[in-house]
């Protein structure tokens, strides 16, 4: 079966590993489309594949028994779904879904584990990504308790902006309210305020980032550390 050459892949993990590591994983990569709303991993159910994104955004979400949801973390071409498989598990309590459509490669859990046994460099890169992801969720939890809805929204928009091409992010207020676990009018109001400061333009189902640097200042230190960890430990980001 033909598989993508390393110079062709845009996933940040697959493009930084050395050629020997890529030779081990590359033959197992199957190109896949990642339509919006696709559930890649269902909470509490065994999963069979990991997905390396080239584009789009994946979201890891946790729910209460009465379906109140909050997003625990996001990833895109910087990462992969199903990294629990690297830690030896094949099911987890979070749901992983596609939040902004994209494309990438899927690889079976067995093939990924075998490749990691064959290549120290591959395994170490992927485990460093797990560390970066934990850093991101740590800052999400700090942001959730310390920031206003506007501050949390600003941070989250920056995290999405890092993972899309261009300055437009196509999301409804309803979706944002689920991701931030707030009532929908709180999102509408927060967008109105941030737009009033001139940082974004909010249109129906679309947000345009206008002044990224100002948004970073507004996020008040809650954005940037996990992203710096990625650059320090893995490679180019954003």
């Amino acid at each position: 079966m033909p598989h993508p050459t390393q110079s062709f892949v845009r996933n940040g993990l697959l493009s930084v590993i050395d050629a020997a590591a890529y030779a081990v994983i590359g033959p197992h990569l199957e190109p896949v489309d990642l339509p919006k709303g696709t559930v890649l991993i269902e909470a509490g159910e065994p999963f069979t594949h990991a997905h390396f994104f080239n584009s789009g955004i994946g979201s890891i979400v946790v729910s209460t028994p009465d379906s109140q949801r909050v997003e625990a973390g996001i990833f895109g071409r910087d990462g992969l779904s199903g990294f629990g498989s690297l830690l030896g598990v094949d099911q987890c309590p979070q749901t992983t879904m596609v939040q902004v459509e994209g494309e990438g490669y899927r690889v079976s859990i067995e093939a990924l584990r075998t490749a990691c046994r064959q290549s120290d460099s591959l395994r170490e890169t992927l485990l460093r990504y797990v560390h970066v992801f934990i850093s991101q969720t740590s800052y999400t939890s700090l942001s959730n308790v310390s920031q206003s809805v506007e501050g949390r929204l600003a941070r989250w928009l920056l995290m999405c902006h890092d993972r899309v091409t261009g300055d437009d992010i196509a999301l409804t207020h309803e979706f944002l309210s689920i991701m931030l676990a707030v009532q929908r009018p709180s999102v509408t109001t927060a967008l109105h305020m941030i737009e009033g400061y001139g940082f974004i333009k909010a249109r129906r189902s679309n947000i345009t980032i206008v002044d990224r640097d100002a948004l970073i200042d507004f996020a008040d230190g809650m954005y940037g550390t996990p992203e710096a960890e990625y650059r320090r430990l893995i490679g180019p980001f954003g």
Partner: protein, 84 residues
């Protein structure tokens, strides 16, 4: 199920609800408005600022306002100085 829009009335005009929400009836829409007003008021109190809005205008898909829900209706009974 019907789609209701929670437009927010402020001192400087209306903040439009672009998406609306699917609920069974106007009573359910009012309940959503009350929960949303509580969160907006709570966020304003935590930030130490006045809330931007003062009421929700609940509208249907044609844009007709069916009900006004003042934010004060979202306060629990006996909340400080609501009866003064």
């Amino acid at each position: 199920m019907s789609r209701f829009y929670l437009h927010q009335k402020t001192a400087n005009g209306i903040i439009e609800d672009p998406d609306g929400t699917e609920v069974v009836d106007l009573t359910a829409a009012r309940h959503e408005a009350i929960l949303a007003a509580r969160q907006l008021l709570a966020n304003a109190i935590l930030a130490g600022v006045a809330p931007l809005g003062t009421a929700f205008h609940i509208a249907d898909e044609t844009g007709q306002v069916l009900l006004e829900v003042p934010f004060r209706d979202a306060l629990p009974p006996g909340f400080i100085s609501t009866n003064e």
